[in-house]
């Protein structure tokens, strides 16, 4: 049984960048969210193993999603994928429970290394 994946980004292109970096077994059934509120709804209604999360988004941003996951006690491995690469932001997302920070545009090898590291492939 392969991991269930959720990709949350307001940009269509960025979502596609993640999808095409994933092994087919994961990308085929991956779910998509275009803002943080949508992502939280999905996370609360079904079991998701991996969340790829953007930070700068309308409605609820990435930090809001991380906080929401914490507050609701949801168990999911979160990888933040963002263009905001300032060290302070990277530390902030790790403190809020993200497993890793990946810079945009996301590289296929880097993404798969992280999935492998957490046994999610």
């Amino acid at each position: 049984m392969s991991s269930s994946v959720l990709v949350c980004d307001d940009s269509n292109m960025a979502r596609k960048q993640v999808l095409r970096s994933l092994p087919e077994a994961l990308s085929l059934n991956a779910q998509l969210a275009t803002n943080g509120a949508e992502a939280l709804d999905i996370l609360k209604s079904q079991k998701i193993d991996v969340l790829f999360l953007d930070l700068t988004m309308p409605v609820v941003d990435g930090l809001g999603v991380l906080q929401g996951i914490k507050d609701a006690g949801i168990s999911v491995t979160v990888f933040v994928i963002s263009a905001d690469i300032q060290p302070e932001m990277q530390n902030k997302v790790l403190e809020l429970g993200a497993k890793a920070f990946l810079r945009k545009p996301v590289q296929k090898e880097v993404l798969n290394q992280h999935l492998d590291k957490y046994g999610l492939l």
Binding site: S11, N12, M13, R20, D84, I85, Q86, P87
Partner: protein, 202 residues
């Protein structure tokens, strides 16, 4: 009316390329000033030569403006304007803590502007498989007339341009500067071709 109109996918792609460039420029600014920069969603719009002065709104208050031209392959070119309010240029001297004899405030503003412009545009160019060269950055005298004249002169070179406005906000010092990129219509047509190539890969 114009060839500038980008469809939804092209707009999304351009926006994402700009976000990545903006993120790296902000990171440079954050390191330079040893602080955190708050990122806002960039504003992308089409401007006509006639309306340019109006949309830049330079007469609100005298500002310091640093101008730098950029040129890539395939006719991609444009002009970057870094605009500072007077209070922000004073702020900058405090932030950097330079001694007056080391470097003047004007030199610091030119330095910082050039770091932001070249970081942004180098990252932008890499993503569209291009490479930029730059003219020397110029500080326009902070009088209203000079800036308006410069902006009007810019607009002589084109009828329509894409205007990208990025606001860099340093939260803990309430320092702001705006980066405005003006990319003439002819260059945008080239960028559109490249964007379509990128989109085809998806």
């Amino acid at each position: 009316m114009s060839s500038l109109n980008l469809n939804e996918d092209q707009q999304d792609c351009l926006q994402e390329i700009i976000n990545v460039a903006m993120g790296q420029a902000s990171d440079q600014l954050a390191r330079y000033l040893d602080t955190f920069v708050y990122l806002k969603v960039p504003n992308i719009e089409q401007v006509s030569a006639q309306s340019l002065s109006m949309t830049l709104n330079p007469d609100e208050q005298a500002v310091a403006v640093v101008s730098q031209g950029f040129f890539g392959f395939e006719g991609i070119r444009g002009e970057a304007l870094l605009m500072y309010q007077p209070k922000d240029s004073d702020r900058l001297a405090d932030l950097l803590g330079y001694e007056p004899e080391e470097q003047s405030v004007e030199e610091q503003i030119i330095d910082l502007s050039s770091i932001l412009t070249t970081t942004f545009l180098n990252v932008f160019a890499t993503q569209i498989n291009n490479q930029m060269s730059y003219s020397a950055p110029r500080l326009l005298s902070s009088s209203k007339t000079t800036i308006s004249e410069h902006i009007e002169q810019q607009a002589y070179n084109w009828d329509l341009a894409l205007k990208v406005k990025i606001s860099y906000q340093v939260t803990d010092y309430s320092f702001n500067c705006d980066m405005i990129l003006l990319i003439p219509e002819s260059a945008i047509i080239n960028i559109k071709t490249v964007i379509d190539r990128i989109l085809e890969e998806y």
